[in-house]
Each structure stands twice: as C-alpha cells, then as structure tokens.
Symmetry: C2
Subunit: 135 residues, 2 copies
DNA sequence: CTCAGTGCAAACTATTTGCAGATTT
DNA sequence: AAATCTGCAAATAGTTTGCACTGAG
C-alpha cells in the first residue's frame, strides 16, 4: 500500500482512478507511457476512467513529484514514475525502444556550462535518437 | 541571392512566401522562432502568407535541411536555420532566453554511450532548463 | 456532510490537409 | 501551358476545462 501513501502524502484523495493509474505506471513493462497508452490499458483492464481524468491525474502526479513528463519528440508526451536516480534516454528510431542511461561526465559538464553562463540548472533533457549499428 | 539558391536547390520553386519566410529566419534577432512568431512578423511586415503556408514551408525547409525544428518544451515547436556547426541549448525559465552552446566532451561521451549499447546516433537533443543564479 | 474528484462533452492550441484559384518555370 | 504553390476554411491530434454528479474522509 505504499502507492496509497504516495498519493495521500501529495495531499490527494486516494481514489479509484488515481490508484489504477499509479498501478499502470508501476506495473507496465514499458515504463514510458503516453496518456493515451494509459487510457488504453485501463480500458483493457475494465478500469476506464476517461482521458480527461488520466490527463488530470498525471498532471497532479507530476506536480506531486510522483512522476515526470517527457516531450521526447513527436506528438504525445510520455510519463514515467520519478526514478530513484536521474537518467537520460536513447530512443531507437527503428523500434521505438527507449533505453535509459546515466553518465556522470555529462552531468557534471552540464553543471559547469550552466554556471559559466551565470545559470543554475533547474532541469534538463537529453535524448539521443539512435539506430542499430547494423543497417 | 544565396537564399533563392537554397530554395531552388531543394527542388522548391522560389515563391514570395518562401523568400519572405527564409528572410525572417535569416534576419531576426531571435533565432529560434515558432511558426506563429514567423506569421506575426510577416503580418507586421505586410507580407502575410497565412499560417498554413508558414507551417508548410517550414516543414519543407526542414526536409530540405534548410532549417531544423526543436521541441523544446511547452506547446510550440521552434525553428532555426541549420547552424554551421551543431550546438545545444539552454533555455532560461525566467526570461525565455535561449542560449546556444557546444561542448566537445559531451558530444564525444554521447557517441561512446550509444556505441556501447549497439547504436549509432542519428540525432540528439540536449536542452538545459535553467534559472539565473541570483534568485 | 463537505469538499475534492470524476467523466462527459465542449473548448482550446498547435498543426495538417482539401481544394479552387494564383504563381512559377 | 504545366506543374507547383497558396490561402482559406475545415479537419485533426493532443490536451484542458466547465459543470453537474459522485465518492472519499
């Protein structure tokens, strides 16, 4: 029931819709889901709550820090549970596969570059669009 | 008249709309413009061509490699002339200011990470969302 | 019981497309 | 003249919002 605590401690009521959406985020094999993906999964599970609610809840989750939102590229935003440690993404253009990675060197370098310009990093987004080497 | 050649060599006819849009991209003090920004500027210049045309032409320019499109963040995509050498972006959350930067170390690191995973980088996007240090 | 949450449908924003008339080559 | 291009308005995709009803605390 750790889920429910996450929801509760965000000052949100523990409702059916929120529990189910959080479950989908926790359970899926694919950890980067669009609002529509989530809606579709809920329908398949006979737990439909409507797109409006999915969007509303996801945004509340983002505000609460429960999940984060990525605007990788084309069209839809995707959401993932806030990871324990930060990571970046590689998106395969062939398969759509998303690979997570982290790299100390890049992270540190970014901080330095921001500071050099008089800024502090609030957030950042690094996405590599890649293709399998053999093509 | 190098503009016109850019357009022509992309296999596109050199039309009023295309010339004006290319001019705006070349001239503006702000080099990262949304379709709407461009439309607004064209209206101000009494060169309105309509949003549909702006979008269509921008997409053709992107396909032709004349400009590139960024999905920085919220809402609208922004376009800039294809730069001579690649660079990444820092977006100030306070002022909306866009700072360009480049860093060899990060670039090299990205290649290595992709290769390590069996991929080749087709493209990448690195955006730092920053705030001025004093707040 | 009260206030937050839901779900529908309608609204909105960014972008694309069909089509008839205008332009470029 | 032929083929491409334009610009309007209508269509589409993704997301948000108003509102009357429902459900959590």
């Amino acid at each position: 029931m750790s889920n429910n605590n996450d929801i509760r401690s965000a000052g949100l009521k523990v409702t059916h819709a929120r529990k189910r959406i959080l479950e989908v985020l926790e359970t899926g094999n694919e950890s980067h889901l669009s609002a529509d993906d989530i809606n579709r999964i809920l329908i398949k599970n006979n737990d439909e709550v409507g797109v409006a609610t999915v969007y509303r809840v996801l945004n509340q989750f983002v505000d609460a820090g429960i999940c984060i939102k990525h605007n990788f590229d084309s069209g839809q935003a995707v959401f993932e549970l806030t990871p324990d440690h930060h990571h970046d993404h590689m998106v395969c253009m062939k398969t759509g596969n998303v690979i997570e990675f982290e790299d100390e060197v890049i992270e540190k370098r970014q901080e330095e570059l921001a500071k050099k310009n008089g800024y502090r990093i609030v957030d950042h987004s690094l996405v590599l669009f890649v293709e399998p080497i053999e093509d």
